[in-house]
Symmetry: C2
Subunit: 395 residues, 2 copies
C-alpha cells in the first residue's frame, strides 16, 4: 500500500465543467500555498497549442503558484482568440485564488481546432477553487483524462540529511504519443527547495530516458506539457550535488513509472513491451533502432496477435538508417533466443516465445554485436481498439 498521495503545501482539485460531452470531470487545478520554483518541457511540434505558447513565455520567470488544466478541448489552431482564452484561464484562476495572473500556468488537451468555451471554465471556477484539497490529486488526475482508461499518479518519498521530502506526479496519455516529447500532459509537485536551473536540469535528465523513450502511435501532440513545481515546504534544500544524488533518482523513478503507465494505457493497448537494443556503436544508434522497432505498425500488430514474428523486428531494424551487419544480429523475447547471427532459431523456440508474448509485459532485446552501447524504448501493441478509438474520436 502506497502512502496517500499528498505533497506538503500543495492542493489539487478536479471538477466537471461541461467541456466533455459525457459530463466527466474535465477541469483541474494545482495550487501551492506559496509561489513555487517551476521548470517545464514542451512539445517539439511546430504546430503548438495556445496554452503551450502562453506557458513558454510565462515560465521564463521561474515562478508559479497555480496550474489550471482542462480536458475535452486542446485550444489548438484557434488563432488569436485561442491565446486570449489561454490568458483568460489564467486570469480567471488568479482572481479566484487572489494571486497575480503571471503566477498561473495553463494546459489544455482534447480535440484540436474548436474554440475553447471559456465561459464554462469561468462558471466552474468557484466550484474548482472550493474543491482544492491536499489529497485532491486523484480528482485532478481524473479530470485531465481523455482516452485514458485509468488515472495516472505516482508518489514517492525520499530523505536528504534525515529530512523527508516527496515527489508527486500525475500524467495523461493516451494517443499522439511519441518522442519528443511523448507525454501529453504531466504535472509534478515536490516540496523540496531548489533553484530554477537545477530544477530544469533535473527535469530534462528525467525526461530523456522516460517520456522521451516511449511510443504509442508515432504521432506527437500539439499540447505536450510537463511542468514541475517545487515549493520548498519540506525544508529540504537540494542545493548541492550530494542532495541532487538523492533527488534525481527519485524524480527519474516518478517519471519512468508515469511513462510506463502511459504506454500500458495506450489507446487500445493490451501489452507493455520494452524494446532494448544493445551492442550498438553509439547510444544514438541504439535509440534510433529501438525507436524504429517501437514505432513499427507491423511489429505492433504482431504483438497484438501474440505472433513471435521476429522477421518484422529485423525488417524494422534494417530501415532505421543505422549501418549494421544483419548476419550478426541476435534477437530475444525475454530470455528466449529467437534469432542467432541473423537467422531464426527454429520452430521449437517459437512455442516458448509465444508463451512470452501472451504475458502483459515483456522485453524484446536486439543485440547488434557491433559495440557496447544500449538503449530502451517502451511501446505497446497495436490493437483493433486503437483503430476503433481513433476512427470515432470526435463523434
Amino acid at each position: 500500500m502506497l502512502s496517500q498521495p499528498v505533497c506538503r503545501g500543495f492542493k489539487a482539485a478536479g471538477v466537471a465543467a461541461g467541456l466533455k460531452k459525457n459530463g466527466n470531470p474535465d477541469l483541474g487545478l494545482i495550487f501551492s500555498e506559496v509561489p513555487a520554483t517551476v521548470a517545464g518541457v514542451f512539445t517539439q511540434n511546430k504546430v503548438q497549442a495556445a496554452p503551450v505558447r502562453y506557458d513558454r513565455e510565462r515560465i521564463k520567470s521561474g515562478r508559479c503558484q497555480a496550474v489550471i488544466v482542462n480536458s475535452g478541448n486542446a485550444n489548438c489552431c484557434t488563432g488569436p482568440k485561442g491565446i486570449e482564452h489561454a490568458a483568460g484561464m489564467a486570469q480567471i484562476m488568479a482572481a479566484r485564488l487572489g494571486i497575480a495572473a503571471d503566477l498561473v500556468l495553463v494546459a489544455s488537451t482534447g480535440v484540436i481546432g474548436e474554440p475553447l468555451p471559456i465561459e464554462k471554465i469561468d462558471a466552474a471556477a468557484p466550484d474548482l477553487v472550493q474543491s482544492l484539497r491536499p489529497d485532491g490529486f486523484s480528482d485532478l488526475a481524473e479530470a485531465i483524462m481523455t482516452t485514458d482508461t485509468v488515472p495516472k499518479i505516482v508518489f514517492k518519498e525520499g530523505r536528504i540529511s534525515d529530512k523527508s521530502f516527496t515527489i508527486l506526479g500525475i500524467a495523461k496519455g493516451a494517443g499522439m504519443i511519441h518522442p519528443d516529447m511523448a507525454t501529453m500532459l504531466c504535472f509534478i509537485c515536490t516540496d523540496v527547495e531548489i533553484s530554477v536551473d537545477r530544477l530544469q536540469n533535473a527535469l530534462n535528465n528525467a525526461i530523456r530516458h522516460t517520456f522521451n523513450r516511449i511510443s504509442i502511435d508515432g504521432d506527437t501532440s500539439t499540447n505536450d506539457t510537463a511542468l514541475i513545481l517545487a515549493n520548498g515546504r519540506s525544508g529540504v534544500r537540494v542545493s548541492n550535488s550530494e542532495a541532487l544524488q538523492h533527488f534525481q533518482p527519485l524524480l527519474d523513478d516518478v517519471c519512468l513509472q508515469l511513462a510506463k503507465m502511459l504506454v500500458k494505457d495506450g489507446e487500445g493497448a493490451t501489452k507493455l513491451v520494452e524494446i532494448r537494443v544493445k551492442g550498438a556503436r553509439s547510444a544514438q544508434d541504439a535509440h534510433r533502432i529501438a525507436n524504429t522497432i517501437a514505432g513499427s505498425n507491423l511489429v505492433k500488430t504482431a504483438f497484438f496477435g501474440e505472433d513471435a514474428n521476429w522477421g518484422r523486428i529485423l525488417g524494422a531494424t534494417g530501415r532505421a538508417g543505422v549501418p549494421l551487419d544483419p548476419d550478426k544480429i541476435d534477437v530475444f523475447f525475454n530470455d528466449i533466443q529467437m534469432v542467432k547471427a541473423g537467422m531464426g532459431c527454429g520452430k521449437a523456440v517459437e512455442v516458448e516465445a509465444t508463451r512470452v508474448l501472451k504475458t502483459p509485459e515483456f522485453t524484446v532485446t536486439v543485440d547488434l554485436h557491433l559495440g557496447n552501447e544500449s538503449e530502451s524504448v517502451f511501446t505497446c501493441d497495436f490493437s483493433l481498439d486503437y483503430v476503433r478509438i481513433n476512427a470515432d474520436y470526435r463523434s
Copy 2:
C-alpha cells in the same frame, strides 16, 4: 477496354508450387525469347533478402532473359543457405529453359525467416515452363500476390517514329509499403531497344514520383525489387532524347498506375488519398510533410472513420521537422476549404468535407503559403482489417 496485356517476345506463367498454405498460385516466371537489357531498383533496407543480394550482383551485367519469382516465403534472414537457394532457383530455371544461369534473376516475397523449400520449386519447374504463354502475365500477377486482394497489371502502347511499342507492368503490395522504395515487387517488360544506362535512368525517374511516393503502413520491406526488361522485339529504338520523350511518360504512367493500385489495395484499405503539399519553400520540404501526413496513424484512422479531423493533419504537418508558420496554413479536402490561416472554417464545411471523405478517392491539400514548390504522396486509410490481417499473418 484495354488491349490484351502482351509484350512482343515475352512470355509469362504462374502456377501453384505448394509454398502458400492455401494452395493458391505462388510461383511465377517471365521469359524473353532473346536476352533483354535489364535495370533494377532494390530496397534501401539494411536487412536484405537473399534474392535481393543475389540480383544486385547479377544485374551488373545488364542482361537478363528470365525472372523467377515466388510468393509464400521471402527467403530473408535465412543465412548462407538462403543465398544458395536464390542461386538454386536461377539454376533450376536456366536448366529448364536451356539458357545460362547468369541470365536469370530471382525474387521472393512472403514470410521472413523460414527456409525456402527449394525442392517444391524444383518439382514445379517443368509445369511452370510448360505454362509459359504470351498472355500469361495475369497468371504471373496472381502468383506473386501475398495479402493483395487483386492482381495488378498495367499495359500501355506508345508510338515512336510511326512504330508501336508496349510497356507491361505487374506489381504486388500490400503491406510493408513506404518509401524508399515502396513497392514489394514490380516487373516491367517492354519491347523497345534501349541501352542499360538509359533504361536504369528511365526506371529511376519513373520510380521517384510513383513507387517512392506511396505509403501504406510506414514499414519497408527486405525484399523490394523493381526490374525492367527491354528486349527490342518491337524494332523501336530509344536511342536519343526525342525517343525518350515518348518512352519516359509512358513508363511513368505505368508506374503511377501500379503505385496507385498498390495503395488502393493496401492491407485493409478502403480509400486512396492523395496528400498534396503546396506552397513549400522546397520540393524536399513538401515531400517531407506529405510523407509525414501520409504515414500518420491518427490521420489514417480518421480517414477510415470518415472524420474530417483536420487537427490531426496539422499535428502531423507540425512534426515533419520542416520550419513553417502554422498561422498561414490552409487545408482542403478536394475543393472544400477546412482550414484558413491555421484556423478551422467552422462546422458548416465539416458536413461538406464528410461527403468528400465518404468517397473512395480524394485529395487532401495542405498549402503552407511559404513558397512555390509542391509534392504529392499517395496513402490509404488505416482500418480494422489492417490490424486483423497483420495480427494473424503467419497463422
